[in-house]
């Protein structure tokens, strides 16, 4: 071992060993209250770290990733440039014909899940009564498989295809797009068509946490607890997450040094699902951000985003509806969802570096129309709005910080908060939540999520990636337990091997 790597590793190992041991001790203490078991699936989120690019260009993971899969500013610029370094050697004709830009990623792990008030059968009831029980389960498990293929088809024509499975092996296409890069010779115009992750400055597909509780950003997927209540069968499921990959067309631009970025997208209002299962309308997503240097501290970035969407509240046509329920959404003809009502997700983001410490802070402001928020078709023939219904409005905050003492180790901390500022249903204190009628408090459905974790990469190379992963996450929701309407807590602990080749 050379002088350089031995001193680097020794110093890093000393620092890391203490941190890892401390984290393991703290997390082990949390293991003690296992009482009962129930299977809780790991979500099949697709995450990105692509040794295929490292192999193509011969650069270590740490060039493009602060800690994979999280991008460094250099990696972000590489992505924004259509997976090109811009050295006149990006086109496939300059590669070995045998080069095949494929990477798989998978995680094997042990995890422990706890839900403090899960809905279970009452063993003393003979009439199917239900109660709440503290549920804990743990064991060895594995994630879904991500099969990344991406790169360039020619200079300034790039692509990305990501077949992704859940952990049973059921595949879907998480990402499918082609992109025209540097159109008309300028980095300010790039056109992407297909299914892709929105240009979120804090990428959920590059999230560093893996647990059930914190494998996605809560603020990216939050919907008020009054939604999708199942009361009106003519109302189609309303599901939207700004973290979900969407189908559409994106125009994106950036300065040569990637300090200034913008994007504008037009998207089908189907939350990234194929075959237009609900409506034929379009949403818009817009981002802008600017980075600047502050002395030796590093690169700082501030930005804003806005998603303006709409979703149908009933189907214009159904087919084969033999349920006896007029307009039953279960028989809705794909693409004929109408009665569209609006929603939006807007926010501000700041990403700040203080040398090896970095902090991302986000503020969210969101709203769903009262018809969406109460599950009511915008058609009197199918139902009427609950008395006193109004638009649901909420705010959110996210603080994620990392300490990265070396490319081989990262400590992660995240706090997410969601606060309702206007409930869709009238507030009747002292009464439990009654779907379609009332909620018990303004804070009903509020959520806090705390996450701590660390990843250690025993080697860094341009061929493959491997990480020891440890994480604990805890979420606390106000008044949403399924039977008694008390606060609902989830916790998740995970240790595993995360690898990609």
């Amino acid at each position: 071992m050379s002088h350089w790597d031995s001193t680097l590793l020794k110093r890093g190992m000393r620092n890391h060993a203490f941190s890892v041991l401390t984290a393991i001790l703290v997390l082990t203490i949390l293991l003690v209250d296992s009482r009962s078991a129930a299977a809780l699936p790991i979500p099949g989120t697709s995450m990105r770290a692509i040794p295929a690019f490292a192999r193509k260009y011969g650069m270590p993971c740490s060039s493009c990733h602060q800690a994979w899969p999280m991008l460094s500013p250099f990696g972000q610029a590489f992505k924004d440039n259509g997976y090109q370094l811009g050295n006149e050697r990006d086109a496939p004709i300059y590669q070995n014909p045998a080069y095949w830009p494929v990477t798989f990623r998978m995680t094997t792990f042990w995890h422990r899940e706890n839900e403090n008030r899960a809905q279970v059968d009452d063993p003393t009831s003979t009439t199917g009564g239900q109660i709440e029980g503290n549920l804990t389960t743990h064991g060895f498990d594995w994630s879904g498989l991500d099969f990344h293929t991406g790169g360039t088809l020619a200079k300034n024509v790039s692509f990305y295809v990501l077949p992704s499975s859940d952990n049973t092996g059921a595949f879907h296409f998480e990402t499918v797009f082609a992109r025209l890069d540097n159109v008309a010779g300028t980095s300010w115009l790039n056109i992407k068509l297909g299914k892709f992750e929105l240009d979120n400055l804090l990428s959920e597909k590059r999230i560093l946490t893996l647990t059930n509780v914190s494998g996605v950003y809560t603020n990216y997927h939050f919907q008020p607890a009054t939604e999708n209540n199942g009361l009106n069968p003519a109302f189609p499921l309303f599901s939207f997450g700004i973290g979900d990959n969407q189908d559409g067309l994106e125009i994106m631009g950036h300065s040569k040094d990637d300090r200034t970025r913008y994007s504008a997208s037009i998207l089908s209002s189907n939350d990234g699902t194929p075959n237009l299962p609900t409506s034929r309308t379009y949403d818009g997503f817009f981002t802008v951000s600017q980075a600047f240097q502050v002395g030796s501290l590093g690169l700082q970035r501030v930005g804003a985003f806005d998603y303006i969407g709409q979703a149908p509240t009933y189907f214009q046509f159904t087919e084969g509806n033999n349920s006896g329920i007029p307009g039953n959404a279960a028989f809705g003809l794909p693409g004929t969802g109408i009665g569209n009502r609006r929603f939006y997700r807007a926010g501000l983001i700041g990403q700040f570096y203080i040398k090896k410490y970095d902090l991302t802070a986000m503020y969210f402001h969101s709203s769903d129309d009262k018809y969406l928020a109460t599950g009511t078709p915008f058609n009197p023939a199918y139902g009427t709005l609950p008395t006193g219904a109004q638009n649901a409005i909420w705010n959110g905050a996210l603080f994620e910080s990392h300490y990265t003492p070396s490319p081989q180790f990262i400590l992660i901390q995240r706090v997410e908060l969601v606060r309702m500022s206007q409930q869709a249903l009238p507030i009747v204190p002292g009464t439990p939540y009654t779907p379609g009628v009332s909620v018990p408090s303004l804070s009903f459905g509020n959520e806090n999520v705390y996450t701590f974790g660390g990843r250690y990469y025993p080697f860094i190379s341009s061929r493959a990636g491997f990480a020891f992963h440890g994480e604990y996450a805890f979420s606390h929701q106000i008044g949403t337990s399924p039977v008694t309407g008390q606060n609902l807590d989830f916790s998740s602990l995970l240790f595993g091997f995360d690898f990609a080749f």
Partner: protein
């Protein structure tokens, strides 16, 4: 008298004690404008971004450089990463054989080296690049024993004219640039296939017809510096002792006309002449370097 001697002795001891510290501190620094790079920080950055190609010791033997000279991804990337231990740098503003200035190395980091695997690191902060320069300077003994060369003087560029282009064309022949770069500047001269760099690896002459930026910059000023300083470590010599500055500018103007796929005032002037129009037309008919019709 004795007090004077004592004072001199103490001063001497102090100088002896402090001087190495000062020298060491200077070796661990780079200076680019108002920026002062720190080698300690640069070392951390190096082991994040650079070691994969340039190696743990900075000798260009990273994990992606195979001793056989077979770059894993194909022959077109068959360029060994810079050997910082040898401290031989292509892109300099200093005479051939001398060390570059801190700013030269800093600019190379920001610009990248086209037609190689060295990308532009402009996304790093200016301070980060200065830190990397400081660390790179610790990798070779040369920086401890030699100073950077004095920057060459680049006189003001005269306006291009048809005459200057014609004269540049004559110089291109007279100085035998065509032997490597080819009569049309396509990098296909009779000597092209025999060229090797200082690592005994095959190296291709620059192909002007491709229209890409130059190895060490994009401007006429950069092009002037390239053939007045040479690209050390490659067969491209310095012509500083061979041609006068005004001749060098004429050569610059002619070389621009060889970049037929890139608009420039020189190309416009050249195409305005009968001779130039015919040559450029013929060049364009020959197509792009890949022959695919698409400039890859």
């Amino acid at each position: 008298m004795r007090k004077m001697n004592l004072a001199k002795c103490l001063t001497g001891i102090a100088v002896l004690l402090v001087a190495p510290l000062v020298l060491t501190a200077q070796q661990g620094e780079s200076h680019i404008g108002k920026l002062t790079g720190n080698a300690g920080t640069g070392k951390q950055l190096y082991f994040r971004y650079c070691w994969g190609c340039h190696g743990f010791r900075g000798d260009g033997n990273g994990e992606n450089w195979l001793p056989t000279g077979n770059y894993p991804n194909g022959p077109n990337l068959n360029i060994q990463p810079r050997n910082f231990v040898a401290a031989t740098f292509k892109c300099r503003s200093t005479p051939t054989g001398t060390l570059p200035t801190d700013e030269d190395v800093y600019n190379s980091l920001g610009r990248g080296l086209t037609n190689s695997n060295m990308p532009s690191w402009i996304t790093l902060t200016n301070q980060n690049r200065a830190d990397l320069v400081a660390f790179i300077k610790t990798l070779s003994e040369r920086w401890k024993t030699e100073k950077a060369g004095a920057e060459i003087n680049v006189p003001a560029e005269p306006a291009p004219t048809v005459q200057s282009i014609q004269h540049g064309k004559e110089l291109f022949t007279k100085l035998e640039c065509w032997k490597c770069h080819g009569p049309e500047g396509r990098g296909d001269g009779p000597s092209a296939s025999t060229l090797t760099d200082s690592n005994d690896q095959p190296i291709r002459p620059y192909n002007f017809a491709g229209g890409s930026r130059f190895k060490c910059g994009t401007t006429n000023h950069d092009l002037y510096k390239i053939f007045m300083t040479g690209l050390d470590g490659t067969p491209m010599p310095s012509f500083a002792d061979v041609i006068k500055p005004e001749d060098a500018w004429d050569l610059v103007h002619y070389l621009r006309t060889l970049q037929v796929s890139r608009k420039s005032p020189e190309l416009a002037l050249w195409e305005g002449t009968k001779e130039g129009a015919e040559i450029v037309k013929a060049q364009k008919v020959r197509g792009t370097p890949t022959g695919s019709g698409v400039n890859q």
